[in-house]
């Protein structure tokens, strides 16, 4: 028995399975399928056929070696290598176009690192200027003129400084004007040799 509704929807079944109908048509077809078991069975057959076809194509696709295909395509796309400068320009251009955020962040980080590291390195390199490798001042020799009544007193402090006083010698052994300081005498020994001047200008 002829069914006019089925005749109407028959051409739409295959597009329905393939998802090519508009939402309204799709709704109408689904309503028809719920009322017509023959059409519903045909749709089921279509779907089963599609599944088999897809599976068969996938199996065929797995058997094919796509490596050569890729190489052939790439050989046609890039027939010759660009010069280094142009490649770099292109790479940078693409980076700034598509990766601007990470690039800017990276550049800012690098600039900050340079700003910190370079002055620090310079400071470390300039930390000990020529001539100042010793950790403390050491007095090697001190002498006064023979005609002078003064005599030198050396004091090397705990923190590495050194002081050379010139003290007017009032004692009877004023003839002993020259003193060689070896640098190994202790501060106490050196202090012992000095009178205790207490007034500025009397030293």
């Amino acid at each position: 028995m002829k069914n006019p509704a089925r005749d109407k929807f028959l051409p739409m079944l295959s597009p329905y399975v393939d998802g090519e109908l508009s939402p309204e048509e799709r709704q109408q077809v689904e309503q028809h399928l719920s009322n017509n078991k023959e059409s519903a069975g045909q749709v089921a057959d279509f779907r089963a056929g599609d599944g088999l076809m897809r599976h068969a194509l996938e199996m065929q696709g797995d058997d094919v070696d796509w490596k050569k295909f890729t190489e052939d395509v790439m050989a046609r796309v890039t027939p010759e290598k660009l010069p280094f400068f142009e490649r770099m320009t292109l790479t940078l251009s693409e980076l700034f176009t598509y990766q601007r955020g990470p690039m800017v962040a990276g550049l800012v980080g690098a600039a900050a690192a340079v700003a910190i590291v370079v002055p620090l390195s310079l400071k470390l390199a300039a930390g000990v200027p020529e001539g100042y490798a010793a950790p403390r001042v050491e007095v090697q020799t001190v002498a006064v003129e023979e005609s002078s009544t003064a005599r030198p007193v050396v004091m090397e402090t705990d923190n590495g400084d050194a002081v050379i006083w010139i003290v007017e010698d009032q004692g009877p052994d004023g003839g002993k004007k020259k003193k060689k300081h070896s640098g190994e005498e202790s501060e106490e020994e050196l202090k012992m040799e000095a009178p205790a001047p207490t007034k500025a200008g009397d030293l």
Partner: protein, 140 residues
């Protein structure tokens, strides 16, 4: 063979000596400081000097009269002090990064090794009721 070695040693000594005489230079900061036991002001930068010298004299006034950076070399550099004494400074030796400077402030003269961030205080005679001090240190 031995004479060859002697020649090398002699040549090395001559070359090193010539290097000091010709080009070796060491920078020093030379400060002239007036010190007095009379009550007054002590510049904050000279507090350390006051404490160092306090072992002998408790100065109550310390005033920096001049500061200059000198390039010491084998040839003496003269520095006229406010009390009209003339200090002569020269680089006596530079070995293993340690400079030995010779300072002559009549009636005394001395040789000292400079130290890293340390100071050498040299009394430079009386001045204006107090004392003058020449302070040599690493340039800041």
């Amino acid at each position: 063979m031995r004479s060859g070695l002697k020649s090398v040693v002699l040549l090395s000594a001559l070359v090193s000596g010539a290097a000091l005489a010709d080009g070796a230079k060491v920078s020093v900061q030379a400060e002239v400081v007036f010190a007095s036991t009379k009550a007054g002001d002590v510049e904050p930068a000279l507090k350390h000097m006051q404490e160092t010298l306090a072992a002998k004299v408790r100065y109550l006034t310390l005033k920096r009269l001049s500061t200059q950076k000198l390039e010491l070399e084998a040839k003496p550099t003269s520095l006229t002090l406010p009390n009209q004494r003339v200090a002569e400074l020269k680089l006596e030796a530079l070995k293993a990064g340690v400079a030995t400077v010779h300072v002559k402030i009549p009636p005394s003269d001395s040789s000292s090794n400079l130290g890293r961030e340390k100071s050498l205080y040299l009394q430079a005679g009386p001045h204006d009721g107090g004392d003058l001090w020449l302070v040599l240190s690493q340039p800041k």
